[in-house]
Symmetry: C2
Subunit: 418 residues, 2 copies
C-alpha cells in the first residue's frame, strides 16, 4: 500500500469513527481514558524498552542532546502520562453544553450547543508524551484524532498507539477513534494536511520550521503557534519593585518557553530604573543588548542591539532592551516587532494601563504580571493542546473548548416563518 | 501599476488603517456609518445614474434576467441601504466587551476581551447592496475592509466606494479603512486571497463556483458558505398539522434561499401523513420526486428520485422525498447527503427530539420549526454577513461577533510565576 493509500484509509476510518465518538457519552470517553491509563501502568516496562530503542537509534544518528532529552521516557515521565490521563478524565465535559437560549419575537427559542470539531490531526516532533496528551484532549472533546509523531519516537509511539486502541476498545469505542500513523515516511504529513474531506483541523506542535512548512502547504485549517517574541514595557512612574520582579521572572524563570520575555521596553521617564534591573539580570548570567539610550542609561548593557535583535526569539539567556518614548513608543515597537503572543505593561497609571490593554493586539495582554503566566494551566483551562497566535477560531492558550465547535439549536412548536 | 502592485498597495493601506480603526471609539465608527448614510441620501440621483450604466452594460452583454435584477438599484433599494446603515449604527458595539474574568490560585485575574479581527476581504458578485452591508458590518466591528465586487457593478461600486471614503474622512477615520477595489481584472481576486500579511480573512459571497474556486486557491482563511441541502424529518407520531405547516413553509416560503427545504424525510410510521403533505405541495406547483416507498405512499409523487436528487440544492419548486426507517434512518441519510446547513425534526417524542438535536452535525438543528428560520435576523444577531458551513471560528449565521476575535487579558499587581 502506498503512503497515499494508507493515509486515505486512516483518514476515512477516522471520519467514520468521529461520528461514533461525537455521540458517545462523557462517561464512555472517560472510561476509555482511564483504560488507557491502566494499560500504560501495566505496560510500563515494555514502554520503557521501546523508548530505549528510540533513544539508542537517536544516539546512533547523533541527534543533539536537547532532542534526546525530549525523546527519553523514564519512570517519572511515565507517571506524568498516567497523571495527565487522570486529570483530563476529571475535567468537565465540554460537549453538549447549551448556552444563551433566548426567545425571539417569532416565538422560536434559539441557543447554541457546543459540539466536537470532528477529526483533529496532530503533527509533532520528538516528545512521545504528546501522543498521550493530544489523544486524551481530542477524545475528551468528542473528536477522533490522527497522530503523526516524529520518526525518532516511532517505537514509543507505535506502542502507545496500541495501548490507546486497546483502551478505546475496552470502553466500547472504535479503535480507529485515535490512530497513530505507523509510517515514518514524510509523505504522510503531506497527505494529512491535504485531506479536508477527512481532517477538520491540523495542529502542528514543534519548531518554527515545521509549523511554517505545514501552514504553507496545508489545504485544511491549521492552528498555528509561531514565535513568542514577548515584551514587558516599564511605564513612567512604574513601581520599581514590581518592574524588577516581573522583568526577572519573565526573562529568567525559564529560558526556553514561548512566553519568556525577549525584549524589554523602558519609557524615558523610567530609565532611572534600568541600572538596577540590568544589574540583576546580568548577575544571573543574562546577556544584555541595548539601544543607544539604554546603554547610556545602564553601563552593564555591554552590547548594541541590532534591528535583528528586535525580531529574535532567543529562547536563551539573552535580552534586548530599548528605551522608548512613553506608551505610544512602546505600542509602536510592539506593533512592528511583536509576534502577537504576550505583552505586559508595568504601570501605576490607570488610563495608560487601560489603553495598553485595549490597543495592544496580542493573544495575551497583561498589566503588572509576568508574561510567564500565558499558559493554559495558569489560565484555568485545565490542560493545553497548544498556544494559538492566530486570530481565528482560537487565540492564546487552547484548551478543550478550542477543540470544539458550536451549532445553533432552535426549539419550536410548529413555528413557521412569516 | 500592475494589478499585483495595486493590490499590494491596497492591502498595505488596509493593514495600516486597521490599527486606527481598532483603537477608534464606537461613537466615531457610528458617526462614520451615519455620514455614509447622509452621503448616499444626498447622492441618490448620481448613484441611480451610475447603476443605470451598469444595468445598460449588463443588458448589452446579455446578462440573464435574475442577475440583472440583483444588479439593479431603485429608490426602494437605496432606501434599504440608508435603513441598513442606521440599523448597524444602532447595534451594540461588539468591541472591547470583557467577560469571564476569574481570579486564579496564583492571584492573577484572567478574562477575555473581544477585539477586531483586523482586515476583512469580501469578494462578491453582482448586488451593489453588498458593498454597503459589508462595509458597515466590518467597520462596526472595528475592522478595515477590502471589497471586491463583480465587474457588472463596477460603476455603482466605485461611486459607493467614494461615498464611504468621504464618510470615513468626515468622522476622522482613514479613508483607506474601507477600500473598494477599482479594477475589474480577475487577478485582483487572486492577489487578495494570497496576501496573509494584509488580509486576515476572506468572505466570499456568491455562487458555489466562486466559493469553491476561492477556497481552493486561498492562502488566507476563508469563511465558506457552500450549499444548503436542508432536510425536514417527520417522525413517527408527529403532529400532522405541524408537519404540514413546517414542510410547506420550509419548501415554499422562498425557493431560492439556502435555508429552503430540499429533501423531506418521512418515517415509515408517519408515511400516512405523506399523501396530504404531497398534495398540498403539488397544489402550489412543487414538483415531487420520491423513493419507491414514498411513491407507494402518495400517488401524487409522480417521479422517481435518483441518487443525484439527494445531493441537489434545487433552489427551485422541486422537492425530493424519502421514506426512512425512523430517526436512525433519517440521521444516516442526513450524515451522508446533508451539506451541514440546517435540519429540522417534527416530533412529539422527547427522547427522539433530544437525540436529533445532539447527534445531527449541522450548523442549525431544529425541533418543530421551519428551516427558513436559519437566518441572522431571525436569530437576533441584528445583521448577517453570511452563513458559515465551516466548523471553525464561526458556524451558522455570522453577525458582528463572527467579525471579531478575542484576546486573553490578565490583571496583576506585580505577580510573578512560581
Amino acid at each position: 500500500m502506498s503512503v497515499q493509500e494508507l493515509m486515505q484509509q486512516i483518514g476515512a476510518a477516522a471520519r467514520a469513527a468521529s461520528r461514533q465518538v461525537a455521540s458517545s457519552s462523557a462517561a464512555t470517553r472517560n472510561t476509555a481514558l482511564l483504560a488507557v491509563r491502566d494499560r500504560i501502568a501495566d505496560s510500563r516496562e515494555s514502554l520503557l524498552l521501546a523508548n530505549a530503542e528510540d533513544v539508542e537509534r537517536g544516539r546512533a544518528q547523533a541527534l543533539d542532546a536537547a532532542l534526546l532529552d525530549r525523546l527519553a521516557l523514564n519512570d517519572a515521565r511515565v507517571d506524568g502520562l498516567i497523571t495527565s490521563l487522570e486529570q483530563v478524565a476529571a475535567l468537565p465535559d465540554p460537549v453538549g453544553a447549551i448556552d444563551a437560549v433566548r426567545t425571539m419575537d417569532s416565538g422560536i427559542r434559539v441557543g447554541k450547543m457546543r459540539v466536537p470539531l470532528g477529526v483533529i490531526g496532530i503533527i509533532y516532533e520528538s516528545r512521545p508524551n504528546v501522543t498521550i496528551e493530544a489523544a486524551s484532549l481530542c477524545l475528551k472533546a468528542g473528536n477522533a484524532a490522527v497522530l503523526r509523531g516524529g520518526s525518532e519516537a516511532i517505537s514509543s509511539n507505535t506502542l502507545l498507539g496500541g495501548l490507546i486502541a486497546d483502551g478505546l476498545k475496552a470502553a466500547g469505542l472504535p479503535e480507529t477513534a485515535v490512530q497513530v500513523v505507523g509510517t515514518t515516511d514524510r509523505a504522510a504529513v503531506g497527505a494529512m494536511i491535504t485531506q479536508p474531506e477527512y481532517i477538520d483541523i491540523v495542529i502542528p506542535r514543534g519548531g518554527k520550521g515545521l509549523i511554517e512548512r505545514i501552514a504553507g502547504e496545508a489545504r485544511v485549517p491549521v492552528l498555528k503557534h509561531l514565535d513568542g517574541i514577548c515584551h514587558v514595557y516599564i511605564d513612567d512612574g512604574a513601581d520599581p519593585e514590581k518592574a524588577l520582579a516581573i522583568t526577572l521572572n519573565a526573562k529568567t524563570q525559564r529560558y526556553g518557553t514561548c512566553n519568556t520575555l525577549e525584549t524589554l521596553l523602558v519609557s524615558t521617564g523610567a530609565a532611572a530604573q534600568l541600572p538596577a534591573i540590568a544589574q540583576a539580570l546580568s548577575d544571573v548570567g543574562v546577556e544584555l543588548r541595548g539601544c543607544a539610550r539604554a546603554r547610556a542609561a545602564a553601563a552593564v548593557i555591554a552590547k548594541d542591539a541590532t534591528d535583528e535583535d528586535w525580531s529574535t526569539e532567543y529562547l536563551a539567556p539573552v535580552l534586548s532592551i530599548k528605551v522608548v518614548d512613553g506608551v505610544d513608543g512602546a505600542m509602536d515597537h510592539i506593533a512592528q516587532y511583536s509576534s502577537g503572543h504576550t505583552e505586559s505593561i508595568v504601570t501605576e497609571n490607570y488610563a495608560t494601563a487601560m489603553r495598553f490593554l485595549r490597543e495592544v493586539d496580542s493573544s495575551s495582554v497583561m498589566i503588572n504580571a509576568s508574561t510567564r503566566f500565558a499558559d493554559g494551566f495558569e489560565y484555568g483551562l485545565g490542560a493545553e493542546i497548544g498556544i494559538s497566535t492566530d486570530k481565528l477560531h482560537a487565540r492564546g492558550p487552547v484548551g478543550l473548548e478550542g477543540l470544539t465547535s458550536s451549532k445553533y439549536i432552535v426549539f419550536g412548536d410548529g413555528h413557521v416563518r412569516r
